[in-house]
Symmetry: D3
Subunit: 178 residues, 6 copies
């Protein structure tokens, strides 16, 4: 039995992530999907809460053949203990999947196997693209799984992103700003 | 669709918890199992990591008819923001299940419905009982689901609890103690 | 112009505190009332939030001749920086009033004048007494100023303390406990 | 009785804030002035400590007809619990005043009434303007109430801002920088 | 070249610690002395700051043949990342010396060699003994190296411990207590 | 006896720092070298852990005539308590050496003597220069002491910096980024 680990912020979970999970699913028996920056929400870069992202992932992957776990990972802001933090929050895994050179480095220094793929880089750009299209009332629905459209609708996510984006553009991205 | 929320430390997840989840399952369509003190591990009171507890819960509940989510909840040590913290880490829920008067109070002050049951109190004592039997090489296996026995075996949990218990008895339950 | 500083947890603000503030008022022109453990609430020892304690103090001292400031001080749990933390949260003060030997020590090591009085010790016991009488439906109203009775009534504080006390007695004083 | 809540960083409290408070004062009986980023000081953006800002606000508003509370609010850096954090630090309030879209969003998601006004946006720019004039030895006194001039003089604030601004310009806005 | 790691709280560094360091010195070329609970001070259990403990250790070990490093380790209160935290704060080491079963367990789970000795247990008791003798004006000087007597004298440590002990005995071991 | 304090991030410790320490050594009997941002590592700006930096400094300064202490200082992100934090982590010192205007200001507000020198500013630029040369496979060895070359080689520091720099350039400087 091989269990894999795949980290992302999933703001939101989109088709690029979905394709990646399916592809990793061919290599492992179980997959832990680590939801990074779990403590962040209601910002331009991290609009959705960890709970909302758990729903997106769980509902999208419900029909996948392999067992998946969606695990929120809060930021500790200490790279030197990041791998241990992830390991304590996650079911045990043997291999990590990432194309982020920092993540690759941290896992390798800890002696954990990492598998990379040229495909990974696409996704971050897609995350930004999805958020920008939501902010601009563009066609974002085609970039994410149907289950994610449903979650975003249920939580009134479009209006949230549009309000937060306005806040940020005015220079008050922090609730303490006037 | 009704989603419920049930919080515990699950150190470990035992038959009392299992029965409770099955009973709650008759009242809701989906259930979020919140794993409290998720940042604590390797202590007499909290021997298992959040990741290990996720495995216990997910494996035990795999055949349950309702959809369940196992969500780690780190301690913030501020009761006044605890409900908001839980809500941000969890998929949305309409009703919380607890017999802990503090939890009941916190949810009620936040305007969230709480359902109580005389059965709940039994469980905390069982948690302590399970840990004490593991420490004393007693029969603990009969108190927990089979999947939990497997997880504890896989992670070498019996030896961990016995070592930690020795540490605590000697007055050095903290790694900084000599 | 002399400004004094007086720290307490004020759980709740009672007649002993009130008398002390009046007495200090004879020595200073302005008084900062520092509300310690401001981040704690909903526990047996710290039932009220900082905001609720601000209301108790401000309303009780409204008619006092000297200017008073009620300032919440969150716990940092590092005694070595405690004085600097207090100074940053408070208007400047020249003299501190305390009978807590630790506080006396910390201020003295920082070169700040401290004035002590045999009267101070009585108060902590009164704080516990007030909370225990509330928990036991005893006569607590006679131990606190009228304005404090009003605040506790407005926030439904009697019921809160009774529920929290029940929680603690059952061994689940933490929301993560089952 | 209606109590309002108005949040800002007040670095420093200037005539724009003052006018806003007077305007809000026509709508409420009591007003809580929440001092955001209370834990920050000695930076270009946040030069003054919470204690110094409490003095500015309390002295400026001493003659106002309505009761005001100046309450420091430390940053938690978790938007999802921000409203609960504010509520725990503040006397109870029924309505919040803000034009920051993020604050509006957070309060609305928590079910709290928010009132907006076109006037609010002016203020943030004035805050920056005041700090820049202080740094450049310009006429900043005309932008703030007299009581604020006195506080800044008393704490030697002009020199502080000029030194900090020099630090930041040199790329060492953090004490760990060489 | 072998570098060892030896953790303690060193409140204060006493002859038991000294003997242990000399004994370890026979097994390694360099030794890192990790000062645990570095962020704690001014309490009955942790009276001295990290800086004061660095002085005690550095001065006592100045004539030792092997190179030693005195490294403060702040508490993170997460056992699962404790080893990584220690590794990030310390020069690299190959072997850890401890008789605390929790520390042994944590290092072993991380794959690091630990050497134990029956002698270690004596020390914790000696630490408490030294502090109690200081509090009671007993003969504590004979239990610690000469350099430690000098440091405690220089920082007025006897008076500090006596004041803090009085505070704790009165039930106000926290600066927020009245 | 005069003890001095010199703070830096030392990423890495280079010849500019080395010259400064030698120069300060002419003015004091003992020197504390405070390693700022001790909790940061594996970033473009802070590639090395505190432990690695302790090794660089201790090995480089081994032959210096004066006694030196290398003390890690974790970031607290509260300027108002920074001086107290430094004082608690460091052996007592009488004079601080810095040319960072913020540091000068913070020490002066706390009543501690600070000595400045036109030379200091050079160093920060050299730190960036060293890191950029390592990233670009340029000649960085000539800018740092031999002992630092050895440490960086031992920990495989060149490869680490090159991987981290690639990560940052791609917009994923945080392990949560995809």
């Amino acid at each position: 039995m091989t269990r894999g680990f795949y980290i992302g912020r999933f703001q939101p979970f989109h088709e690029g992530h979905h394709a990646m999970v399916e592809r990793i699913g061919e290599e492992v028996d179980e997959l832990v999907v680590g939801i990074g920056s779990a403590d962040q929400s209601h910002t331009v870069r991290n609009p959705f809460t960890a709970g909302e992202r758990i729903m997106m992932i769980t509902k999208t992957l419900a029909d996948l053949d392999i067992i998946t776990y969606a695990v929120p990972i809060e930021d500790l802001n200490r790279n030197s203990v990041w791998v241990s933090h992830v390991q304590s929050m996650s079911p045990r895994f043997e291999v990590a999947f990432s194309n982020n050179p920092l993540v690759v480095r941290l896992f390798e220094e800890a002696g954990i196997e990492v598998r990379q793929s040229p495909m990974y880089r696409r996704e971050e750009f897609e995350g930004t693209e999805v958020r920008e299209r939501i902010a601009a009332d563009g066609d974002w629905e085609s970039l994410v799984p149907d289950a994610v459209v449903e979650v975003i609708d249920e939580i009134d996510g479009v209006e949230r992103i549009q309000q937060i984006t306005a806040s940020d553009a005015n220079g008050n991205g922090d609730p303490a700003d006037e």
